[in-house]
């Protein structure tokens, strides 16, 4: 089992070495990156917006029900929603969702290219297929996922605000006061740093799973599942490591 793990890790590192080698023609990579920003970034705005809105609403309502005690000031609901969204939900939970959407997309796209010999065709032409296919995806997600996190924070807090002021029995003024109370700007930086790590994990792990597929459609499906599972596990692991390192 350990041999298998180290073999896999070794080939993952070798793939990254190929990915980050000098591009053949930077202008083509630029165009490809723009395409990936649209495919992997813009196309994820919808799902992130909807999920974050309802996540924020649920977090807000749960905080409201759990602090239904005269001892606790009602503005805590706003504060709790804000910090939950910024510290955890908009980075980690959104990353888990993106691992499902973007990760499976990347693994199946590259995997299908592998089994239909499109990657071989690139190699025959003398193109560094790993770099051409994977580098633009990594750059695109590193560039765009922080925006997705910011959108998620805004939508989550908005969801919490609407749910709590209409259903949770808190005034708009108290919720907004809670949002502003004891705000630590570094939390945003912390969230963005986590997002960058998670974006790299999702893209590189999923690409690796797709790139080394052999066989047919069944194997592409398996690679897609593995991409999501390994990305999620690594996201959760790095979530703990980064939290300990950054918030200590």
């Amino acid at each position: 089992m350990f041999t298998h793990f180290f073999e896999g890790f070794g080939s993952y590192i070798l793939l990254l070495k190929k990915v980050f080698s000098k591009p053949e023609k930077p202008s083509l990579y630029y165009k490809q990156t723009v395409r990936e920003i649209i495919a992997l970034g813009f196309d994820s705005v919808g799902i992130i917006t909807i999920i974050s809105f309802f996540m924020g609403a649920a977090v807000g309502l749960q905080t409201a029900y759990n602090t239904e005690n005269p001892i606790y000031p009602t503005y805590l609901i706003g504060l709790g929603t804000r910090d939950s969204m910024i510290l955890e939900f908009s980075s980690s939970v959104a990353a888990l969702i993106l691992a499902g959407k973007v990760g499976s997309n990347i693994a199946s796209e590259i995997g299908t290219m592998r089994i239909t010999e499109q990657i071989d065709a690139l190699e025959i032409m003398g193109v560094n297929s790993a770099s051409y296919l994977i580098l633009p995806k990594i750059i695109a997600t590193l560039f765009f996922n922080p925006f997705l996190t910011l959108i998620s924070i805004i939508m989550g807090i908005s969801g919490g605000y609407i749910a709590c002021t209409t259903l949770g029995g808190i005034t708009s003024k108290d919720f907004v006061y809670g949002l502003q109370y004891a705000f630590v700007p570094f939390y945003i930086t912390y969230s963005i740093i986590k997002t960058l790590f998670f974006a790299f994990i999702i893209t590189s792990v999923s690409s690796y799973q797709g790139y080394y597929v052999s066989g047919g459609s069944l194997e592409v499906g398996r690679a897609s599942t593995k991409a999501v599972v390994f990305s999620c596990l690594l996201i959760l692991l790095f979530n703990v490591i980064l939290t300990q390192l950054l918030l200590k």
Binding site: L28, M113, T116, E117, D120, E123, I124, M125, G126
Partner: protein, 250 residues
């Protein structure tokens, strides 16, 4: 010219190619024939560098390809065009973008020049008014022709075709064969075609290499193949009953 010397290739201890020695000449359609699983595709993929040989030498003219590094091989690869069994067109690109891809990647030509070249290549393979179609919108024969257009867009010196007729009806298959032969002669390309289609052998087989169990058993041309007394070759060539009857009569 491509020369292969003492080539061996194995997978997990199972030898797939044994002591392959052969020369493929320019301006000729060189055919590698043999049953499925005989090692044809492995040989082709080893020659183009998609697989590394265990030992042996592959020469492209006076360059020893097997000793070159990944970067050094790029220069040779720019001179190679390859037609894959499944065409291997890029799904996300249109016909025009597929054929233009090598030009975009390896030349600094103006867009007008590239478009002119793309249209020339597409016209050469008889694909007209389909520039903006995607591969999923093409028939099997059209995909093969677009793949040939892409393979010749950079004026290659070497053309490799892996089962160019698989999945095609007999008429389209003959058209593809003729196209490969014409292009080979027109541009004096060294062409290597992997096939188990006897129609192709009789149509375009100027040099034929018969491979079985990873060993070359016979070399010759389409005129010699019918009169060979090589038992393994005859089992392959006259496998169907019609061919057997014809052989008996002759």
């Amino acid at each position: 010219m491509i020369r292969i010397k003492n080539l061996y290739k194995s997978f997990n201890g199972r030898i797939v190619l044994k002591d392959i020695n052969v020369t493929f000449e320019p301006g000729k359609t060189n055919l590698i024939i043999g049953q499925s699983g005989s090692g044809k595709t492995v040989l082709l993929k080893t020659v183009v560098g998609l697989l590394e040989p265990d030992s042996g030498e592959i020469w492209f003219e006076e360059t020893l390809f097997t000793k070159l590094s990944f970067t050094e091989r790029k220069e040779i690869r720019k001179m190679i065009g390859m037609l894959f069994q499944g065409s291997a067109l890029f799904d996300s690109l249109t016909v025009e973008q597929n054929v233009r891809f090598p030009l975009d990647m390896f030349t600094n030509k103006l867009m007008e020049e590239k478009t002119e070249r793309v249209n020339f290549c597409l016209k050469r393979v008889n694909i007209l008014n389909s520039n903006h179609l995607y591969p999923s919108e093409l028939s099997g024969g059209m995909k093969k022709r677009v793949a040939i257009a892409r393979a010749i867009s950079l004026n290659p010196k070497y053309l490799f075709c892996d089962e160019p007729n698989s999945g095609l009806d007999p008429i389209t298959a003959i058209l593809i064969d003729e196209l490969i032969k014409e292009i080979t002669e027109e541009y004096n390309i060294t062409t290597i075609v992997n096939t188990h289609d006897m129609n192709s052998v009789m149509e375009i087989g100027e040099k034929i290499v018969f491979i079985s169990d990873g060993v070359i058993y016979w070399e010759g041309n389409k005129n010699e193949i019918l009169n060979s007394d090589n038992e393994k070759l005859n089992d392959f060539v006259f496998a169907n009953s019609l061919a057997k009857q014809l052989k008996m009569k002759s």
